[in-house]
């Protein structure tokens, strides 16, 4: 139990290894590794997933997902298209509720509470667990009103100007936009729009931020800014990110879950978790040959 903790502290201090550099602490890797679905307790879990299965209609889109998502960590979900990463991340704040045919089975435990229990209100869940989407989706309003919308609908107390400034500062956007807060957010660049969406999410003071391929529509410079931002944010927030960019997963995340697509007897495709582990181990010494083939670019 102590070794993984040390490791996390090391990661938190920013001692990251670039992609392809082999981790030298193989002993630790074997200590924490094991079977593809082996569960380990992080120092404190925000989410505990137990055999989660999400279906659209009769067939599951992703099934048998069990792992824990740690507090103040960045957890990356990687894998080929159609493997259910986005489906899974959207069931962590009950966004799948918006799709009438979607059904979630298994247990999604958030700080010890079953997210899908009858008495849990999805709106309350989304207050605590924010989300940033693939394509920047600012509201067709001013920059200021984009940030203020969340606090207003939630009836948050406090000076709105301060709330807006704090959120924009937090998202490292304040200096770029402080002189045009009243202008329409559609006039910003794509990267700024995405950071605005992150700021908007921070303004309601969530506990967890879910990011569904947040950089896939952005250029490398904007992507770099958002990655830096994520590294800052994890001091206060827990982050789950879906990404197609494996270098990104390797650069920013602490834990990585690798998903794959499986065909069942009736040729139906559904996603499964192949391996969940420390990011370093996934990228340097994966336990499963499929993970290795994917992260080294042999398939994918």
């Amino acid at each position: 139990m102590t070794e993984p903790q040390d490791r996390q502290q090391e990661d938190a201090a920013g001692l990251r290894r670039p992609l392809g550099v082999r981790s030298d602490d193989g002993a630790q890797a074997t200590a924490v590794g094991g079977g593809p679905q082996e569960k380990r307790k992080p120092h404190e879990a925000v989410f505990e997933l137990h055999d989660v299965q999400v279906s659209y209609g009769p067939k599951p889109a992703v099934r048998g997902v069990s792992f824990d998502i740690g507090k103040n960590e960045i957890t990356a979900l990687i894998g080929p298209s159609g493997c259910g990463k986005s489906t899974l991340i959207r069931c962590l704040n009950r966004m799948n509720d918006l799709i009438p045919t979607a059904r979630v089975e298994g247990k999604v435990i958030y700080h010890g509470q079953d997210l899908y229990a009858k008495e849990v209100d999805a709106v309350e869940v989304r207050k605590r667990i924010g989300m940033v989407f693939q394509k920047p989706n600012p509201f067709p309003k001013s920059i200021y009103d984009n940030i203020a919308f969340g606090p207003r609908v939630l009836g948050m107390k406090g000076n709105m100007d301060e709330i807006v400034e704090r959120a924009l500062n937090h998202a490292a956007l304040w200096d770029e936009v402080k002189d045009r807060l009243k202008t329409n957010a559609f006039g910003m660049s794509g990267g700024q729009q995405q950071r605005l969406c992150i700021a908007r999410c921070l303004a309601v003071e969530p506990d967890v931020i879910l990011m569904d391929e947040p950089c896939s529509a952005l250029d490398p410079i904007s992507t770099g800014k958002i990655e830096d931002l994520m590294m800052d944010l994890k001091r206060e927030y827990s982050i789950v990110i879906v990404t197609h960019n494996m270098q990104q997963a390797a650069r920013v995340s602490d834990k990585t879950a690798f998903f794959t697509v499986e065909l069942d007897d009736e040729e139906h495709r559904s996603g499964r978790v192949v391996e969940f582990d420390d990011t370093d181990k996934i990228f340097t010494n994966p336990s499963d040959s499929r993970t290795e083939a994917y992260v080294t670019g042999k398939v994918g």
Binding site: N93, M95, L98, P100, V123, E124, R126, K127, R128, G130, M131, F133, K135, N137, P138, F139, P140, F149, G150, V153, L154, C197, R200, C201, V204
Partner: protein, 296 residues
């Protein structure tokens, strides 16, 4: 040069001829449609321009043509449009919100509602007049042949148009806006009221104005509902008798015309006034759309 033309090739004579024939045919069709409309408008303008004076607008109708004016009908129409708008905006928008945001289209009753609305838009206006007569003027509500009954009848008539326009405007707001709002912890209603509707307002307003532009020219349902033809006062409230522009025009045309008492120029002037109102309303609709339409 010859090598070049061989490489590209040239369309054969028949292909080019066909192309030309179709272009000319389509142009002729367009010309016919616009030409007929122009002839009609010019004819009306020639007949009515002389009578379209300030006195015409500020006088009531009269037994002598040279003293008759259209004031009561103009105010009647304005009242009708007001009642109609107050009725169709909330009901039409609420229906559109239900169908777009809440209704589960896999349920048979929601599909039934949808098919019905599409069909209602095509029901002849006289049928709405009969409905208004049976249920609003007489029957359960027994309002009598008053402004309120006329405005509601016109409202029922154009309600499907408003619903369809509002649904399109609501559907044009991308799902990502709803997701972004819901992901911040907003309820579905907060999302609709504070994100979807504001973004859809230009489209909804355009639809409402176009619906009113259709209602303003309706004659048949108002005749059935019992609009009066000779009204020498302006309506002062919802429970007053009324006349309206198309009714007044109809009345003037259907009167016996004599050398000394010819109502036909007055009818033409009434048509011009109606056309001016229509063009105004349509211009506002176009301006609204261009000025406030949200591009995603």
């Amino acid at each position: 040069m010859s090598a070049h033309s061989e490489a590209i090739g040239r369309p054969s004579g028949t292909r080019r001829a066909k192309d030309l024939v179709f272009r000319v045919a389509m142009f002729v069709c367009l010309g016919l449609a616009i030409g007929l409309l122009a002839v009609l408008l010019v004819d009306v303008a020639v007949d009515g321009a002389g009578s379209l004076t300030w006195d015409f607008i500020t006088s009531f109708t009269s037994i002598s043509a040279d003293q008759a004016g259209i004031q009561a009908a103009l105010w009647g129409t304005i009242w009708l449009m007001g009642v109609c708008a107050v009725f169709i905006v909330p009901v039409g928008v609420a229906t559109a919100i239900y169908l777009e945001e809440y209704a589960d289209s896999t349920k048979w009753w929601n599909r039934l509602i949808e098919v019905n609305i599409q069909n209602l838009a095509a029901v002849p206006s006289i049928v709405y007049g009969i409905l208004g007569l049976a249920y609003l003027v007489r029957g359960p509500l027994s309002l009598g042949p008053v402004i309120l009954a006329g405005g509601l009848t016109l409202g029922l008539l154009v309600l499907p148009v408003v619903i369809i326009a509002a649904r399109e405007a609501i559907r044009a707001v991308p799902p990502s806006i709803r997701e972004g709002s819901m992901a911040l912890g907003a309820t579905q209603w907060q999302t609709i009221w504070r994100q979807v509707l504001p973004a859809a307002v230009p489209g909804i307003a355009t639809g409402v104005i176009l619906a009113l532009a259709r209602a303003i020219g309706e004659t048949a349902p108002l005749i059935v509902v019992g609009a009066a033809t000779v009204v020498a006062f302006n309506p002062g409230g919802l429970n007053d008798f009324f006349t309206a522009l198309p009714i007044q025009i109809f009345d003037w045309i259907s009167r016996p015309q004599t050398e000394t008492n010819d109502y036909r120029p007055l009818a033409a002037a009434g048509i011009l006034l109606l056309m001016i109102l229509l063009v105004l309303m349509n211009s506002i609709a176009i301006w609204l759309r261009n000025r406030y339409e949200q591009r995603w």
